[in-house]
Amino acid sequence: MTEPTRRQVLRTGWKVGGALLAGAAGYTAFEALSPLSTGAAGGKIEVGAPSNFQAGSATYFAEGRFYVVNAGDHYFALSQKCPHLGCKVPFCDSSGRFECACHGSVFDLAGEYVQGPSPRGMDRYHLALEQGNLVVNTGIVVAGPDRGTTTYRTPPKGPSCLGKV
């Protein structure tokens, strides 16, 4: 193997130096742009005793941006964010279902996918019973159930809210 010339060494040095500089700039940009916190999520919110939530009801908590629902004998804390494109999914009192006005995704009371473009059911926050009260931990999110899940499915109570212009 021949000895590299001074010009080859310098040229390689420039390339390596440039690559290191670009890498450092890229990493710094990544660090600067990375979120320092996870926004509003991350805290524990006490929502009250289970008996406060009637069967078939959905109660909205603006401070945590979630619903607490009582689907028969099961309670869920459902993120308000539609898994499709992030709109807030309103609860339709007449049908007893969650119906997204953005693109028409519909979920049942437990947040399971019913119809529309959403890829899955509504995401769920961790829910625990602590000293007789339900506590929602918005720092622990479980991705919504896959399409086709019908564990808690009940027929709609009445007419849909979608399409009312």
Partner: protein, 445 residues
Amino acid sequence: MSEHDVLEPTQGVGVDEPVIRRGLHRSSVWRSIVRHPQEDTPRGRALQGFSNFFLHVYPVKVPRRVLRNRYSYRLGFIAAVLFGILLVTGLYLMFVYTPSVGSAYGDMQKLKTGVGFGQLIRNVHRWSAHLMVLVVFLHLIRVFYAGAYKSPREFNWVLGLMLLMLTLAFSFTGYLLPWDQLAYWAVTVGTNLVHYIPLVGGQLQNLLIGGDQIGQSTLIRFYALHVAVLPALLVTILGVHIWRVRKDGFAVRRSSVGAFGEGATEAPVAGSGPAHAAPELYGGRVRLLGVVDRESVTAESRPVDDTVFTWPHLVVRHVVVALGVCAAVLTLGVLFAAPLRGLANPNVTPEPAKAPWYFAGLQELLSHFDPLVAGILVPAGAVIAFVLLPYIDRNPATAARSRKVAVVLFSILLVAAVVLTVIGTFFRGPGWQWVPPWHHWYVEL
């Protein structure tokens, strides 16, 4: 003979000037600033091209057909003028606006009530931004149908696509800044598209909006992108884009078979070198003194001098167009106020929540197909196909009738995009249900 004797105007400007102005124009300070001689002769005008910054943007001469409005519809120039208007009005807005969740919306109201012409400036900024997106799209369409992406302009087409992306990024980042319901939810819907990129989508979305939902982090980074990063990128790439247009002779050679085929206005010149590269620069007065292989010098075919001086012919037309654009956006700004809905509320989604109109086609597509397909694969595939287009389409013809496959494919894509955009923008209401615009108007720009 001194240098000043050469530069001294012999006719035209200067003869009938008042004494003071003539003295000023002949002073050494003036000549240090304006170095061209201002002679109103072809030679004087040509010399200005070498001593005048302005004529480094424009060529000294352009093909006569460039003067026709129908030639390019001046779309690239109009887009540049709109960008200029956006820079000026944007600077005014920066004096009033603070990128803070607590004050951004109030600043919008302050523009309306507390700042003289504040609302007008905002209106003009808003309408110019929408128009710029529209005009850049139309420019792309015109360039495609003219076959102007072909050699030697392949890379300038790619630069143009980068400018289109930057224009969209400009408009999208600016959309959030008023911090009203329209801004908040349009950007929520728009940024959630990123989530569908396989593997890295979630992290990319977090980087883009600075968290898991739109908030202060999003506002500050969109603002930084809007007023610093994107302008720097756009000005740089636009500079190279225009420079290449100018170096490529400012006009596409019209041909149905190739660069010098049927319909071409310039005939090939025997020989090579700078004279061959840009015969119009020399006004057709090219005389070859080199040895021509196996042909006599009399066999030389000269370029047809079908060129005109850029100043005043093209520049005057550009000035008129620029004034027309200013008048148009000013009229829009006076007649139509930029929308401002209620303060952004993460707990209430307006019905319907629509992305900006240039993404409404994608939103419409999303209501029919899987998000990965409609939100990522289709737009990314279209961008990649457009970037590769000049390198795949090797057919040298520029006339539409000689490139039927490319024209038909592009036209199908164009019609589909327009139809989806029109449906998404005008025909969709709450729940993304079908609502004709004459029944209820759900459009806000």
